[in-house]
């Protein structure tokens, strides 16, 4: 039996917009176990961003419970949430969110700056290791301006890995990339997943979801589909295919 990393039960989240109450999430329950590669799909307004914010401890549910790595998030203060984000979660964003004019290494080191248990030597070592893992060992001292979109997203992935999180949360991580580069990034995610990383990937592109082992589909704040993917496509193979077409 694999460890449960994320446990969500009857999660609700509503916002007050003027005098209207918007129910973004209307009772969501699911578990994610260690080593899973889950995509959360849904059209815009389905509540997937709200879901990701809560999973990422950037937002608190209105009701229901959320446990990450056996820690119930509900009772935590702002500072404790920050520590959870720092130690247990790796974030990847659609627009990379790298610090401009800052080298790859320094960008990757960023989360470790906020962890006082890590010395500057360890910090650098871990950053280099992460960048190696995403295949950028030759771009350590490049700044985002000197990197392509795919490379920038790899730096962002390296940053999400550097604190050895229990889960990586990706928000439309391929949204800004062309198909070929998207597949390259997905191949990287699959590789990381094989190494045991738990990944939650929010997207609205079905072909991206095909690379994951499980897909949760949201609509109007409810789960309408939650199924395992029996035929996980290999991003490497998909990549080879488009290359053939081009050739």
């Amino acid at each position: 039996m694999k460890k449960t990393i994320i446990k969500v039960e009857d999660l609700k989240r509503s916002f007050v917009m003027g005098d209207e109450i918007v129910h973004a999430l209307r009772g969501i329950s699911f578990d994610i176990k260690e080593g899973e590669f889950v995509t959360i799909m849904g059209s815009s307004g389905s509540g997937k961003s709200t879901m990701l914010n809560i999973l990422g401890c950037l937002d608190q549910p209105t009701s229901g419970t959320y446990e990450i790595d056996n820690v119930s998030v509900k009772e935590l203060s702002k500072n404790q949430l920050a520590s959870i984000r720092n130690e247990k979660i790796g974030f990847i964003f659609q627009s990379y969110n790298l610090l401009p004019r800052t080298t790859s290494i320094e960008n990757v080191e960023l989360p470790l700056f906020y962890n006082s248990n890590i010395t500057s030597a360890e910090r650098k070592e871990k950053a280099v290791e992460s960048l190696k893992l995403v295949g950028l060992s030759d771009r350590l001292y490049h700044t985002p301006g000197q990197l392509s979109g795919g490379q920038q997203q790899r730096v962002a992935i390296a940053r999400s890995l550097v604190n050895s999180p229990v889960v990586i949360l990706a928000d439309e991580a391929t949204g800004n990339l062309d198909t070929k580069t998207s597949y390259e990034i997905m191949a990287l995610f699959q590789k990381l997943n094989k190494q045991g990383k738990t990944i939650v990937f929010v997207t609205h592109e079905p072909d991206i979801a095909a690379f994951s082992s499980r897909t949760i589909v949201l609509k109007d704040g409810r789960i309408i589909k939650d199924e395992l993917n029996d035929k996980v496509q290999s991003a490497e193979e998909a990549l080879a295919k488009i290359k053939n077409v081009v050739d």
Binding site: L58, R85, N97, P111
Partner: protein, 406 residues
């Protein structure tokens, strides 16, 4: 450890925006620099006034006629005739707190030596005048009491008079000059004394027995003033008190009536000038402080823009684990680094411009350590004070909205 990290982060942000940081600093640099320079100028002028007044004889007490009422008409000090020789004699005989005393009558006129002539003042005195003024002779000798008594036609001259009447460098001692057509035999030459506080050339003077000046030159029988030396600078107020008392008795001034004379010491003069220059210093510093304030507002402005501009970065930092306090500290440290670095450069600028002012403009300056310390502390506080609001603003951002900020 954590603090050190925040320090590194702030340093990074400063280094990434060198030009902007420098321009922000400029306000602080100019502010601190001008505070230090202005204080140095103020202190310097205060000190130079003090030393110049002291060089005139810091324990000198001067008595002048004043507030003289003749039939209800107030008269100009120069016309008052309330000081007399008998006042002088009484003071000389009875005042305990003074060591030397001399009457003083002065007039102006033309000094002539052959084909050279020179307009100058003549002071009628007794030999004790030189003791009071702390003045030495460079050659010759001062006249004797007997010569004073007989109103002898002798004189001691100052350096400026010598240069103008004896342009060829001959020795003036023993020569006879004419002053307002009265022949005076030069028996001594005064040492050079230079300008006094008021820019007056103290060497442009002829000293003669007061009797000579009274009778032969001015044709008066009263004294224009009396100068005396208190036992020490500290005894000056007591001497002023004592002289007043003696003169009131002498002039038969009843209790409650105004004095018909003024007695004042150099000490009073010093404190008058000091308070004037102190006010000047306060004024200069106030102006300089305004520029420091403007510099501080500049920091606030830039920090505020910087927070806006880096909203997404702040969101990201929060997403990867920065706490509110971390963000607050980051921006506060950044503001303080700008203000303190600016302050340090400002100190250097202030000190070097002080040297410039001293060397090139020849203004007296004096840098006090407290001015450096205070302006430095003020600028550190400025950093915290003006950095606080933008930093608070940054720390209060919601990570979700900050991350999505466009």
């Amino acid at each position: 450890m954590r603090f050190l990290n925040l320090f590194k982060i702030a340093w990074k942000a400063i280094v990434l925006n060198k030009v902007r940081t420098f321009l922000t600093m400029l306000g602080i640099i100019i502010g601190v620099g001008s505070v230090i320079a202005m204080l140095a100028i103020g202190e310097g002028s205060k000190e130079s006034i003090k030393t110049q007044i002291s060089s005139m004889g810091s324990n000198m007490v001067t008595i002048r006629p004043g507030a003289d009422m003749r039939g209800g008409v107030r008269m100009d000090a120069s016309e008052m005739q309330s000081l007399t020789l008998s006042d002088f004699n009484t003071l000389k005989a009875t005042a305990q707190n003074i060591t030397a005393i001399s009457p003083l009558v002065n007039g102006s006129g033309q000094a002539i030596n052959g084909s050279n002539n020179w307009p100058t003042s003549i002071y009628g005195i007794t030999p004790e005048y030189l003791t009071i003024k702390v003045w030495e002779l460079s050659s010759g000798s001062i006249f004797t009491s007997a010569e004073v008594k007989s109103a002898a036609k002798v004189a001691v001259v100052g350096q400026t008079v010598v240069t103008n009447l004896f342009p060829n460098g001959e020795d003036p001692v023993g020569k006879t000059i004419r002053y307002n057509n009265i022949p005076l035999k030069i028996i001594g030459v005064l040492e050079k004394k230079g300008e006094n506080t008021f820019g007056q050339d103290q060497d442009d003077v002829i000293l003669a027995p007061f009797t000579t000046v009274q009778k032969r030159i001015l044709a008066i029988d009263y004294l224009q003033s009396i100068v005396a030396s208190a036992k020490s600078e500290n005894d000056a107020p007591a001497a002023v008190e004592e002289i007043s008392e003696i003169l009131r008795k002498q002039h038969k001034i009843a209790e409650g009536q105004d004095d018909d004379f003024n007695v004042f010491s150099m000490e009073e003069l010093i404190s008058t000038f000091s308070s004037t220059s102190e006010m000047l210093t306060v004024l200069l510093v106030a102006i300089a402080s305004i520029s420091l304030l403007v510099g501080g507002i500049g920091i606030m402005n830039i920090m505020y823009v910087s927070v806006k501009e880096r909203t997404r970065e702040i969101g990201l930092r929060m997403a990867v684990g920065a706490k509110e306090a971390d963000i607050l500290m980051q921006f506060l440290i950044e503001a303080m680094m700008i203000s303190i670095t600016g302050g340090l450069i400002g100190v250097v600028l202030g000190l070097s411009s002080t040297i410039f002012i001293e060397k090139v403009l020849n203004w007296p300056t004096s840098v006090t350590s407290y001015s450096v310390v205070i302006s430095f502390i003020v600028c550190a506080i400025t950093g915290i004070f003006f950095g606080w609001y933008p930093a608070r603003k940054a720390a209060a951002l919601e990570p979700i909205s900050a991350l999505r900020y466009e």
